[in-house]
Symmetry: C2
Subunit: 264 residues, 2 copies
Amino acid sequence: LVLFFKKEHLALPMTRWALKLEYDGGAFVGWQRQAAGVSIQQIFEAAASKLADRPVTSIIAGRTDAGVHAEGQVVHIDLERDIAPDRLASALNFHLKPHRVCVLAAAAVPPDWSARFSAIGRAYRYVISNRRARPALDEGRVWHVPHALNAALMHEAAQSLLGRHDFSSFRAAACQAKTPWRTLDRLDVGRRGDTIEIIAEARSFLHHQVRNMVGTLKLVGDGAVPVAAMAGILEAANRAAAGPTAPADGLFLTAVRYADDPFA
Amino acid sequence: LVLFFKKEHLALPMTRWALKLEYDGGAFVGWQRQAAGVSIQQIFEAAASKLADRPVTSIIAGRTDAGVHAEGQVVHIDLERDIAPDRLASALNFHLKPHRVCVLAAAAVPPDWSARFSAIGRAYRYVISNRRARPALDEGRVWHVPHALNAALMHEAAQSLLGRHDFSSFRAAACQAKTPWRTLDRLDVGRRGDTIEIIAEARSFLHHQVRNMVGTLKLVGDGAVPVAAMAGILEAANRAAAGPTAPADGLFLTAVRYADDPFA
């Protein structure tokens, strides 16, 4: 018995693609689709769907809120189409125009690989413009704090947050994580001229955790909260014990780490 | 004989103010007022005029073209009003809202001091994003060159432009300078990851000189022009001998130098 069927009827083998994204979050309601407003997910999936000529859904490593930027976000999609990684990135970038979202790199990954669940680390950068004049060039990319902050004290206070803790004091009410326990691997505060940069690294973060830690460290920097109080704020495991949420503008998702870097 | 007259009739002593400006040139037709479009000069003089409650004119250290940015532009104005430097900067910044123009610093200077004529040096930075993906975060702030450029060759070629020369090969047709002779003090090309940065320093530059030098160095970087050809391009003293004008987006006026730094 010989069966004849058209080529189109064959199920083409699917390839899972890891994609590294850069975006300016300023014009978006965040990564995730919302009832109103334009999301990065919607823009990205529309570009992938045009390329695939069918609806494509994506899984993201770290959802970002409205106004939060990314220099190294990672997402995965499945495509039937056989295409070289560089051509896939270029084709997606073509369809992503004119939005401020682009694909920096593409890599084929195993079918069980997940941008979200295979990730073993996330790194964020938070930028404070600490000068009298409001930012003209960096508007929307920094938190403007016009009075002098002591970055050395902020760094010292940050060190008491390192390690495995219940981070409820820095957790958004809307956070959907199963547990408030997280392990913070790095929280460095440094100054270069008028710019204070905070680097945060962990396997994963609670919703608003970085911005809530930054909002509290700012209170240390301006003398409102003593360095020694930070440990108690953490131990309180109560959002009311910590400082306000820092604005989204200054936050950048810089990298997502995997046991095997697909883009290496 | 005693003369009585109202205080308002007294000519108040004028103070000349040096102001350091930062701006994003993206939304403007350039520094100088134009028949159509919004200029930075117009925005700045409107803010100063509101503060002074009379029309104020300004003298700028280095006029910038449409799309060119500034991190350390310098301008001077004369004001009757007695005001502390920080309060003057804050008041101007208030009136400059919501434009992406701000005053970083203010300093009282002698009445014969000129932002333009007292300047003894100008420094520019030009940024190339040298990667396949178009810039999402840095759109409007870089020249996107997607194919690989050899920055080391560009740097080598740049060195043959140093010193005192007739820079006619790199001079815009519209340039109003009396002479094409300029002394180029520094032209460094360096790479950090995907970013190529070019630093140019001179007492003054011809119109489009930096962008024309960058456009020519780019041809060296991509192999279209050999390093050894650069000296001949300069000697030709003919605009047609050099490369095209690099886009405005990547250019930043970073600093203006004076014998006595008024902001020190």
